[in-house]
Structure formats: C-alpha cells, structure tokens
Homo-oligomer: 528 residues x 2
C-alpha cells in the first residue's frame, strides 16, 4: 500500500549506518525515521505540494512537515522521543502522497546516543536521557563550504578537540579572508540569479552529511540560519519575508529530525540591515513553531543584544567578550534573562589586526573560566593569520593556538563537576566561587597571584543548597589551569563558623599557592 | 450648576500655595487642577460610588479617576500637560456627581516647575519641558511614618543635600531598627483589624503634603506601593488581589496628578512571599493602565531581578551593588533591558553588622562614578548605627556620612555634562570612559593610582556620535572625586590618528596625575 522506503540516495546511507543500523521497521530512540514517497515532479514541487505526516503512539501524536528532495522524492523525517510502537499517516493535498500509513518500532538508543540537548536546571543543559551536557563550543562559520579535503581535515581536528558544539552557517560567507566562492548553493541558479523558490537538494544532502559527521563525534551542530556577510554577492542576507519564511520552513523540515541540531536564527542579527526586530520576532516564532522536536533556539548579536526574554528563545547566545573579561560580570545576564547563557563569541585567540581577533591564549582561557564559575558557558574561536587564508574561525582546518589544550583540561574539570551544573555560590558578593554547596566548590583566582588562600566557604543564597556547617569535612586540590596540573592538598579541612557569612577551617588553615596567575582550587566534601 | 471648588481642607491649601497661586479657574501647566463635589456619605463611599471626570482640550481628551476623600467630598485631580483652555465633565453612577461641567485655563508653568520626569534618549531622563534630569537618589523608607519633628528634620537635610529623588513607602515598616508603631494608617481600623475597604483620608492627606514638600525642594518622590517588611504586624504585605487592586487604584487616583511622583510597585518584590510573578504582572498593568499621566514606573528586586523588558516598566530599578563595584559591569543591564538603569540599591554607607550596610563612603562614591561613566544612575543610602534607632536608610533625620558631599560634587559634574546624558563611549572595550563623542568625555580611574594618563580618545560605536578626527582640539581637567577639586590641565590637546581605534594627542602628550585613587579626567572639545 504505502510506497515509503527508508532512505535511498547515497548520502543517506549514512543515516542508516550511523543512526539506526536497523531494518526499515525499527529505528532507535532519537534516531531518524524517514518516510519517502514518490510524487509529482511537474511544476515547482517545492511550492506546489504540501506534504506532512502524523506520527502517533497511543494518545501522543505529532505532525511533522515533510519536504521535497528532488527526483520525485517526498520525505518526512521523524525523531522519535519515546520507545515502543509508533504509527504514521501521511497528509497531502496530492492524492498519491496522502493517507499512506505505516507502523514501526522504536528501540532503545545505541551507545553514544543520548538524545537532543535541552535546558536543565534553568541555566544549564542536559541530553534527553539525563546525561549532563557542559557546553564547550567553537566556531567555523563556513567550514561546510570549503573544499572536501579541508572539511575532512576540520572533522579530524574536531575529533581530537575538546569541543562539543560548533557554530556554522547554512549560507556561504563573504568577508575578509573569505572570498572563495562555494561550489554549491542552497538554491538553484547562480550568483545574482538565484531562484529562491527552488532549493538545491544536493546542497542540503551534503549539509546533512556534515551534521551527521558531527553527530558521530558527539558534537552539537549550532546551525546559523541567516547572517549578514553576503556583501551583495548572493543576496541571501536580503531576501524578502516570503523568501525567508519559505527557506526557514524547508530547512527546519529537512534538519529538525537530527538530534544534534541547534538553531541560531542569525549571527550578528543586528548587522543585517535589511531586517527589523519585528522580522526577527516573526522568524523566531516561525522556527520555534515549525520545529516538531523543539531544538534549542538562540539569536546571536553584534552590538545590540536581542531581547533574550522572548519565550521562543531557549538560551541566550551572546556576543560580548567584556562580559567574561572579569570575575563578576558573566552572572549579570543570568539574572537578566533567567535562561542558560552561552557566551558564543568572546573574541578570538589570534593575531589579526582587528581587536576582536587578537586575544592571547591565556586571555581566552581566562574568559572560559570566568564564564564557568559564574554558571554560564563560553565559546572558543581562533584567528591566526595564514597565507593560505585558512583561519579556523571561518574555514576550519587545523588549530594553531594554545587554548584548546587548556580547554581540554577545563573539560575534564567540567566532566567531574556536579551534574546539575556549576552555580555562582554567592553571586553578588564573593564572585570567584562557583559550585554546588556544600558538596563542591570551584574557586578561580584568575590574574591574581596569591601565595595562599584562606580556606573559607560562603553561605549560599537561601534555597540554593544546604549551607556549610560546623564539622563538615572537605578535601582540596590546586589546579593550574594554564599548566594543566592537579595538585592534591594534604589533609582534610573541617569547618567552623567564622562569621555571619563564612565557615572557615577550624584551625584557620590556608592553602599554599605558587604565586602564579590562572590558579584554581577545587574543593569537595568528604563523604562520611 | 457645578458645585466644584478648588481645594477646601487645610492640607490642600498647600496645593494652592505651591502648585498654582491662581484663582480656581486657572492652573499652571503640570500643576494640580482639582474638582471637588459633595456626594453621598452613606454605605461605603469608597466601594459604592464610581466617580471620574473627562478633561478635554480640542481633540485631546483624557478620563481621570476620582476618589472619595471623606466628609462627603469626592475629588478628581488633573495634571494638565498642555497650556490653554480646558473643559471637564464628571462621570458617575450617582446623579449628584454626574455630568457636572466646568472650564479652566492652563497657564505657563512657574519658575522651578519643569513638569514630570520622563525617559529621554532611551537610557536617560528629562523633565517634560526638556530640562535634563540626572538622577541622584537616596532612600528613607518610612520617613513619613516618623514623628512630625523628625519628618521636618529630614526635609531640612534633604534641602541641603544633592539628592533629587527619594524612595519611600506608603505602608509602615517592621524591621531591625524599625519597631516603632506609626500613629496613623492608610486604612480604617487598627493592627490585626484593618478594614481595607475603607481608606483613611487623613493618612493620605498627610502623605500628599510630604510629596508636595519634596516637590518644593525639586525632589522626585519614588513611591513604594508595596513591600515585604510587615512581619505580620499589619498584614499589608499579604492582602488579597482584590484588596491590592482596590488600594492601588485609590493611591493612583489620589497621587497621579502630583508631577513629582514615580511609582515603584514594590521594594524587593521577590521577598513578598504571598505574591507570584503573575500577581506583579497584574499589578504592573493595573498601575500603568490606571495612571492617566504615565508616571515613571519600576519594580525593585531583592535577589531575583524582575523581567525588566516588560512594556509597562519604564526604567529598570535594580538592587545589585556588585553591578557597580567595577568599571565594566553597569553597562551590561543597559544592553539587556534597553531602558534607563537606576541602581537604586548598591548597599549602604554605614557600620551595621549586615554586609549590605557597611560600605565605606569611598566605596559608595566609587559605585556612583562607575554607574555614571557606564550611562546609568545610582542611589545613595546610609546605615550608621545609632542609639536612638534613627538610621537615614529607614527613618531619615540627619546624614552622618561622608559620601553626600562627594555626591554633591558629582552632581556639579553631572549638571555640566551633556544634556542628552553620558553614554559609554566604547562599551565593551574601554569601559572607564563615558561621554558624548566628540564633544565631551569623562574618564574615571577608580581605584587605580596612575601618575599619568595618555591623552587618547576611542572611536565610538557606529552611529553613536561623530568619531574623533585629526586636528580636533580639546581641553582637560583633572577631577579629584574624593577631595572634590577640579584642576585645569595646561594647554590644548590636538588629535592625530594613533591606530584603528584611537586618536591621541599629536605630540604624544599625557596628563599628569597625582598617583591617588578616585581621580577622573574631564575632556571638552574646544569650540572653534
């Protein structure tokens, strides 16, 4: 009866291999279950044919938009969020695509599949299966637009890196160090003559392949849907609302079933001179409302931060290096927005002339730590000059800087930190301390170079964890965040009330420090 | 026909004296035009009688709610925002209060009357006549609940102070150092037995007198409508929604015609355990929607900042001392909220045990300057221990600290600063500089103790003023913000491009500094 089949064309074999490894009537939880039907090829199938499917399990039902993938293939992709038996029925105004039904079984996820990342504990993230996700992102804006060999190199570099998220654009980029024309475009046509009503399936098939490549590496794909770096070369930054909406619906229909997808409405939205804030509100509602799987959704700013309290924004994707350039700043946006804060751009490790691209590695790592102890997350970027025009920031390739090794060290610290996330302990007072009172504290000393640190723990805000109390015992380690060492401190610290705000070691002991910058202290409660 | 008369009872003679000095058929712009009618005294006039008036000038028409003031007097108060001829007609379900008409003339404002304060240039304030208003506030929470003699002393202290705004509560306060019972309450009844459906006109008549006393001194009255410091003594912190709404409508009807009124929905709204955020949303909409004159409206936080992007909030009234404890923080909330930021509580100069009340005068003044150069505003408070329990913070009286003199110095600097307000010049980069490029710059050096400062001016953000250019000439003055001195620097500085981001003096000159903390440099362009 129904002519659907699970994935036919070559690139999609990867879906089969990576995502399911199951026969067509089973798929793992959070995998991609795809229904493909043959349909009309006349006229403009992208415009003329509506195609969707309803997926149901008991009383749970979800309608998923489909898309035309060229060659008469109409597809709809479903990411099942529950195991067990599911049914579907297609919906279309075109008879041959309408009312087709099927059944399939969703099995438990295979190793390494933890589902999509969602918000957890207001300010943090977790995979759908509950595993904590400690965001440590990087950016290569148009790595998928580079020669295949370079793309493969980027993937190899990412595989060896600590990064678990990468920000990149659907559209190509025209900017300093980015003047190479891509070989393939998302629309039919060519520069200055694109038909935005006809998508280029090959472009998206390739793009999806790269999303899956990242998925294999355990890396989230933070997909930048629109950006201003077009310079009139292609006109993708100045499409009409009708064109934008059609493009966005198509992209969401194609990509939303991939579990590692995040949406970023735009990079530097406020630099897109052809759009108003009302446009972004419309676009935000459209993407949020048309994604059946509710992926994370952000909008990233240039100079003017978007109103991050809008309900369709899941997390604040912020460009502002200054906000993490000092202990006490990063937390302020948590209070303002009450959502996870991801400082996706804090300037770049590099040596280019622009001041946004000439941070030292030390400074970039410092900013990550400032973000961390404030209960927020940070993003890496690299802009070392290169004769071959290949800067990681935009094209990928290899990493040349010194920060990634230190961020790998930070990642180990994060992986060992409380599952619920690191919270500021005393947010407006003793800002260099994050943790989960009274079990875990991370004290960061930044550019200070003390030779000792008095062992004392602040009282957390009311309702934010059990306060320290007399007799509680702790061990401590001194972390050199630059030289990547962990040095246990001898002995156990036992608390005694010091004043209204602090408990200190009962014998007044301090921790000896080497008088160098970028030191931290990790304190854990002794389980008794 | 109509029996209105302008002000009868004794306290309101002040309105006549202060506000208008006119006969009953004229009133100055932004004065109070009051219509009083005699009406029913049976039943509960506060509940039973609806009374309002429509005021009209040509096509402009505004309906103003009235209120019952006891003794059979029904009043409606109008603050005319335009000069010329006005008419009114009363509206009531009670025949004797309905359909009464009259005419009056609104004359130009008298000296010292600049109208109400409104938002100007997104982040700043101005009076209705265009005069800039540079907020320099203080707080005496319950000064109007103290013995009359102490209230008079507070007014005398305020008259000699630099403050142009004071925050205070309608309701009495029960808290440390605040255990004296007030002599009069806003409702009929007594503690644990108030009738919240019957207001006490005498209470409000007195309260209004104090608002007018402040008006005479050129001080804005930031009226805190609700607060949590009740401790069950009176129950004003735990009224039902019906009681709250009735109370708020009554207060707005009584007070909205006084031009120096601001509304603060609450102090530390999040410490009011009997209200939800939905309650605050309802209350905010009610106050905003029932005020015919659109006074400034804020909601002040304890630990949890309200969503300051809500449209009924005119300016962010923030408690967070940490946000002004360092150069680069205060600006962050501007970006987040896109409204004027008033740091109404940044801790207190004082010596009490609680850490919120033991700032040094130096630290408090430092915080004001940090707020200033970031394009935001700050609030003063004082908590010096006192045997007589009279702490300025709560009861008023006399000021004992060293900050007010330095804030008076700051006020002189502000009065001389650009009318449009001081803006951060290079908000995420060179944070210690505020001003109006390229006419005026204020460099604040805070706790740094340099012996010289290289004369160089950053490029402002695109669209934020004309950038510095070669050949522009400037004079400079060194300000000692603690010792309150202004020292002109010899000669004129002439700009020459230094790099992509700065113009410096063409001869590479620096300004000599004394190596002390709390210095600032004021730079003004030479008019040619």
């Amino acid at each position: 009866m129904n002519r659907f089949k699970k994935i036919t064309c070559s690139f999609l074999s990867v879906v089969l291999t990576v995502v399911s490894l199951h026969a067509a009537d089973t798929v793992e939880q959070w995998g991609v279950y795809e229904v493909t039907l043959k349909g009309p090829t006349n006229g403009n199938p992208f415009l003329d044919v509506r195609f969707a499917a309803k997926f149901a399990q008991g009383y749970d039902s979800i309608e998923v938009p489909g898309f035309y993938d060229g060659d008469g293939n109409y597809r709809v992709r479903f990411m099942p969020e529950k195991q067990g038996a599911w049914k579907y029925e297609t919906v279309s105004g075109t008879p041959e695509l309408n009312g087709k039904t099927g059944e399939f079984t969703v099995t438990k996820p295979t190793a390494g599949n933890h589902g999509p990342v969602h918000i957890a504990n207001t300010f943090h993230f977790a995979y759908a299966d509950g595993k904590p996700y400690k965001q440590l992102g990087t950016t290569c804006y148009v790595w998928t637009h580079q020669p295949e060999e370079l793309q493969e190199q980027t993937l190899k570099t990412l595989a060896a890196s600590p990064f678990n998220k990468i920000r990149f654009c659907v559209f190509p980029k025209r900017y300093t160090w980015n003047t190479n024309e891509p070989t393939i475009y998302p629309f039919e046509g060519k520069p200055r003559n694109f038909d935005t009503a006809r998508f280029n399936p090959k472009f998206f098939q390739h793009f999806e392949q790269r999303i899956l490549d990242l998925q294999k590496l355990g890396i989230e794909a933070d997909i930048i849907l629109l950006h201003p770096y077009d310079d009139g070369a292609w006109g993708f930054d100045r499409m009409t609302a009708v064109e934008d909406d059609r493009y966005l619906r198509y992209v969401v229909a194609r990509l939303a079933a991939f579990r590692n997808v995040w949406w970023s409405l735009a990079n530097e939205y406020d630099f897109m001179k052809f759009k108003t804030e009302d446009d972004w509100e419309r676009i935000g509602q459209l993407v949020s409302g048309s994604d059946p799987f509710h992926h994370l959704l952000g909008i990233h700013n240039g100079k003017r931060i978007f109103n991050q309290t809008r309900p369709w924004i899941t997390h604040a994707s912020i460009q502002n290096g200054a906000a993490v350039a000092e202990f006490g700043r990063a937390e302020l946006y948590r209070d303002a927005f009450r959502k996870p804060i991801v400082y996706d751009e804090v300037k770049y490790e590099g040596d280019i002339e622009s001041r946004w691209g000439q941070l030292s590695a030390e400074e970039l790592v410092f900013r990550f730590w400032n973000a961390t102890i404030a209960g927020t997350y940070c993003g890496h970027g690299e802009t070392y000059k290169s004769d071959d025009q290949i800067l990681w920031w935009s094209k990928g390739g290899v990493l040349k800087g010194q920060s990634p090794a230190r961020l790998a060290f930070l990642k180990k610290i994060l992986d060992d930190s409380p599952a619920e996330g690191i919270e500021p302990v005393d947010k407006w007072q003793d800002t260099p301390i994050g943790g989960k009172p009274p079990e875990y504290y991370l004290v960061y000393l930044g550019k200070q170079t003390p030779t000792s640190w008095e062992f004392k723990l602040p009282k957390p805000p009311q309702g934010k964890g059990q306060p320290p109390a007399d007799g509680m015992k702790f061990t401590a380690e001194v972390l050199d965040t630059w030289n990547m060492t962990v040095m246990p401190v001898d002995g156990v610290f036992t608390l005694k009330k010091k004043d209204n705000y602090y408990h200190a070691d009962k014998d007044g002991r301090s921790i000896t420090l080497p008088g160098k910058p970028y030191m931290a202290i990790r304190i854990k409660r002794v389980k008794e």
